[in-house]
């Protein structure tokens, strides 16, 4: 069934292709992620077709946010947070996949300018830290993000079949933020970009989870009262239950 849908979309895409001249077509089966109570992370398949042979790079960037970074230092015997810095514009999610190792596809300055690859990500803010110190803080952010699973720790792979079709899987952990995720796909041939495509993924809370979140943020005082009432009802019922059992 899934294959059939893929086939239909590809058919549709190749039809579109004859109208506008594109070297690259790519699409998601589903570009919506809903975080309901049962949400535990998600995998999206991303696939498409190439018109000319080449190498592919796919970069997924989550909404950028301000983050506070704390650094631990050993004071006497104890590890405590000794310094904190604010970084603005840090992608809450970052995923990169390519059909070949990145440095074999394109030169370093191109990768650096376009922030392709974890090593080339730039974070704004905390201007007072310079050079080597900054690299350490940057690495710290990347390591923490990898630990949560928001940055992919192993480089993603893209399969290209018959130099025509490609497919990759992008996985999202349960800690991802809401918002629009940008998916950039580049087709490169001999260091030249011969095709590119930008698509989007929408991540939003939904169902009961969304209701609770909206309630808690929009009507915080009433939400607090509701939380108390719920807990009291629970406490009361349990007490009744115990009484019945003991009686």
């Amino acid at each position: 069934m899934k294959l059939f849908i893929v086939f239909l979309i590809l058919l549709n895409l190749s039809y579109k292709k004859t109208i506008g001249k594109e070297n690259l077509i790519a699409e998601f089966l589903d570009n919506q992620i809903y975080m309901d109570v049962g949400f535990t992370g998600e995998k999206l398949s991303y696939f498409g077709a190439l018109d000319t042979p080449g190498d592919l790079v796919i970069i997924v960037t989550g909404p950028r946010k301000k983050i506070k970074v704390l650094k631990k230092e050993k004071k006497i015997w104890l590890w405590i947070n000794s310094k904190s810095r604010i970084f603005s514009d840090v992608p809450t999610y970052y995923f990169v996949a390519s059909s070949k190792p990145l440095n074999q596809i394109k030169n370093d300055s191109f990768l650096k300018i376009n922030q392709i690859g974890l090593n080339n990500l730039r974070f704004e803010g905390a201007e007072e830290i310079e050079d080597e110190g900054r690299l350490e803080w940057r690495e710290g952010i990347i390591q923490s993000m990898k630990k949560i699973g928001n940055y992919n720790s192993s480089h993603g792979k893209i399969e290209i079949i018959d130099n025509r079709l490609f497919k990759t899987e992008i996985s999202f952990p349960s800690d991802i933020s809401e918002g629009t995720y940008i998916v950039d796909t580049l087709l490169l041939n001999e260091e030249k970009v011969v095709g590119s495509k930008r698509s989007f993924i929408n991540v939003s809370k939904s169902g009961l989870g969304e209701k609770v979140y909206l309630f808690a943020t929009k009507n915080s005082l009433i939400y607090g009262a509701f939380a108390v009432l719920m807990a009291m009802l629970f406490g009361f019922l349990v007490n009744e239950l115990i009484r019945r059992i003991n009686a």
Partner: protein
């Protein structure tokens, strides 16, 4: 089975949450404490953001302390007059505590303060309970009589009131101050404060032990209500989904606890609880002493 917690913004294992709720329930069934001192650090260690763990735990304690309070109230083991004074002190303290919590969180010191406070209180309490349970065992064997309570100078401060149920005639200032500080602590640490309040009521105020737990639960209930509403309003860190699973696990825990209490003698229970508290303290301390995997930690700013 994993479940997504919308305020904590992460998913957690359903059975894990139920088990923690169950353990806290056992403690409330056995000792009439909310179990927050055990639940909050475990939630934090398991990856729930500390602020959300504290806020949701306050909410959890509302339910678990009400269960206990009703039981003691029906048996008339509550000193309502003493409880009212403690409520006023605790209420003021817990509101102040939520603002201190917010301040600590903005300057990035929250996690350390929580960790240090837990290590300190759990350490003192754990060692104390171990010694106490061993001593009572010995005293029992010797057939010694334990004195009801000593009169301290603070008992004679102005505004003396007769607390008939507590068998006391003391100033209202010490209970007010004690409950005030415990209110602050409760809001910052995500505990009801019963585990500190109960010994303080027995050994500092010298209350009749019969009404101590019921009266402490009255204070804990009120403080956790204030603290939940304040955390929800000021910090938006109360996750009702998280607290409902803890409460649900607690349903079975409370009964298990009430059953265990009838089977095992009091000293053994206190010894076991002492060991539990002390090992939790050592665990939290080791996290500060051992070299961390990651030197940097990140926090999203809303």
């Amino acid at each position: 089975m994993e479940i997504y917690l919308p305020i904590a913004e992460t998913s957690q294992n359903l059975f894990f949450l139920l088990t923690i709720g169950f353990l806290a329930g056992i403690l409330s069934g056995m000792f009439g404490v909310g179990g927050g001192f055990l639940t909050t650090p475990i939630l934090i260690v398991s990856g729930i953001p500390p602020a959300v763990a504290v806020g949701s735990e306050a909410n959890h304690i509302v339910g678990s302390s009400l269960t206990g309070f009703l039981t003691y109230f029906r048996r008339k083991f509550v000193d309502l007059r003493m409880g009212s004074i403690m409520i006023s002190g605790g209420g003021v303290g817990s509101v102040l505590g939520v603002y201190i919590f917010k301040y600590l969180s903005t300057i990035g010191r929250l996690e350390e303060v929580i960790a240090f406070a837990y290590i300190l209180f759990l350490g003192i309490l754990g060692i104390y309970m171990l010694f106490e349970s061993l001593k009572t065992k010995k005293n029992k064997a010797l057939g010694n009589l334990i004195k009801l309570h000593d009169h301290g100078w603070f008992h004679g401060l102005p505004f003396r009131i007769k607390f008939r149920r507590s068998k006391l005639y003391i100033s209202v200032i010490p209970p007010f101050l004690i409950s005030f500080f415990i209110g602050i602590l409760a809001s910052i640490l995500g505990v009801g404060g019963g585990f500190i309040l109960v010994p303080a009521m027995i050994y500092i105020l010298g209350m009749s032990t019969q009404v101590v737990i019921g009266t402490s639960l009255m204070q804990v209930l009120f403080v956790s209500i204030v603290s939940t509403i304040m955390h929800a309003h000021v910090n938006q860190t109360v996750d009702v989904i998280l607290s409902s699973f803890l409460l649900f696990g607690g349903v079975f825990g409370v009964q298990a606890g009430a059953f265990i209490v009838q089977k095992i003698s009091g000293e053994i229970i206190r010894l076991l609880l002492g060991i539990l508290i002390f090992s939790l303290c050592i665990f939290l301390l080791s996290k500060l002493l051992i070299d961390p995997n990651l030197l940097y930690t990140i926090e999203f700013i809303r």
